[in-house]
Amino acid sequence: MPRLVSHPDEVKIISRRFGQGAEKIDRYIELGGYESVKKCLAQTPDWIINEMKASNLRGRGGAGFSTGMKWSFVPKQSAKPKYVLVNGDESEPGTCKDHLIFLHDPHSVIEGTIIAGLAIGAKLGFIYLRGEYRYLLRIVEKAVADAYERGFLGKGIFGTQADFDIITQTGAGAYEVGEESALMESLEGKRGIPRIKPPFPAVVGLYGGPTIINNAETIATVPHIFAMGAEAYSAVGTPRNGGTRLFCLSGHVERPGVYELPMGYNLKKMIYEVGGGIRGGRKLKAVVPGGSSTPVLLPEEIENLGMDFDQVGKAGSMLGSGGVVVIDDQTCIVEFALRTISFYQHESCGWCIPCREGTDWLKKSLKRFHAGFGTASDIDNIRYLAENMLGRTFCPLGDAAAMPTAAFVKKFRKEFEDHLDGKPCPYAKEGVPQLTVV
């Protein structure tokens, strides 16, 4: 069972019910659950969407798009049924927040899904969990069954005229399926290859119907927004970055864990105070701020960095999915880069040339390089390759692979050079470079 942590700086909104037994429906209700959806049932779809816009909630999957705006793109009239799709295919290395939501507070996802359905006029929602989360799927399935039993789902929910159904779905191991259109493909029983856009899912989505796809954390936040009021929620964060988010602190910190902090929280403070500093009293070398796809930051770059979408973007990286990976000074960045690209090589769907070939090529080059068989021109070649993938791939996975690679080479060129001329990796234990990668 994942260990729960806490810190005085936390503002517990989403994680409010973690560890409280709220996976049981009675307890969830006891803790104020299903009140927001009742509130929304009494309101119009426009009101719901306006509240969402006012909350300044931005998508927690990584792109940070305004949730209220996304919902407003769904056409009011549609010949085909509309759908709500909850993306619980949490797969970005460094990210494990939805894990806790499904484990401790599955009803918040259900409640958020119903509210989203009311907002766009959908009668069916899907909660898609990555295949590895089988034990969480059972928890969510139980929660859904309980909600049906109470009349919160099904025909005439909460005694109103409204109908809403939820189907749970499992993936089977594919990072790419976290991309929204690939997720729809997977849910339709196909290979997780993204779709050509436009049309966008809000217009032509699942089964051809208008669809909104939101990250599980985003959806779990929705009931809280209506519980505390959009304005109050927005006030928690920084301008245009409403609320809190679950930061997954991992790597070389003393106290790794998932912490709920206000948007804009200082990264240095997060590492040193919330996370208890670098493990074993070592020095910070670098930090990956938002999951493995986000460009690495140097210690000097995080001095005054507030963790919201805009500030991290300005610093040349991305807030991404909230996975903060802390790297100490005894870590080989070349190996870290190799492990990162190996992941993207493994997960590339293979659809487009630059991602399929680029990740494969980068992995091979970095592997050779790390083993001490690199040449000086390799360093430029790796960067050239990464830069020539950027912005040219079919979907963002190519960028997700290229961006961090380019940043590693750019910011740690010296460390790459230290691997040249047949020299073993300076950080290797027992003097032998590690070569095992998937």
């Binding site: 494990c96 990956v288 095992t436």
Partner: protein
């Protein structure tokens, strides 16, 4: 009439429980094919891997070609076309686990089991796999044994984990006997 077109009662290779579950699953979605991936996963849980017979049975239930089923199944890394051990040990070595000793953990499993990546122990009890991120980054290093998570591990806990599964298997064996 060619044998291809012969009408016969569909035979299934699955247990009555799973078969009934599949019957419900294909009715659940707006489109039958949405049941494909869950079905493959559940079929694998029961049969151990996606044998030709599993592929054929699932294809028939959904009404798509076997090629379609293989094409989809081979995309997803949790689905396999070869048997694994009774307990499939999946060690995450992705960045967060790597930083906290994922490779050391993996090496310890290799030593203890005497198998490499994707290897199966001679008794068929364990298989070992180095896997990508399993979503336990803040509790690294972590592994999954089949669907069970074990987190915040260190190599010294490896023998204990293996023993617990060995006794579990033994208990199951005795219960069957």
């Amino acid at each position: 009439m060619s044998p291809k077109n012969m009408k016969e009662e569909p035979l299934t290779i699955f247990s009555p429980q799973l078969s009934a579950r599949f019957d419900a699953l294909v009715q659940k979605y707006p489109v039958k094919r949405s049941a494909l991936i869950p079905m493959l996963l559940y079929a694998q849980d029961e049969v151990g891997y996606l044998s030709d017979a599993v592929v054929a049975d699932v294809a028939r239930r959904i009404g798509i070609t076997e090629l379609d089923v293989r094409s989809v199944a081979s995309y997803y890394s949790m689905l396999r076309f070869k048997p694994a051990g009774k307990y499939n040990i999946q060690v995450c070595t992705n960045i967060c686990c790597m930083l906290r000793g994922g490779y050391e953990l993996f090496d310890r499993f290799r030593e203890e089991l005497g198998v490499e990546h994707k290897g199966i122990t001679p008794d068929g009890l364990f298989s070992l796999e180095e896997v990508e991120c399993i979503g336990a980054c803040s509790w690294a290093p972590a592994i999954q044994v089949n669907y069970d998570f074990h987190d915040e591990l260190d190599p010294d806990r490896v023998p204990g984990i293996l023993d617990s599964y060995r006794s579990q298997a033994k208990a199951e064996g005795e219960a069957h006997a």
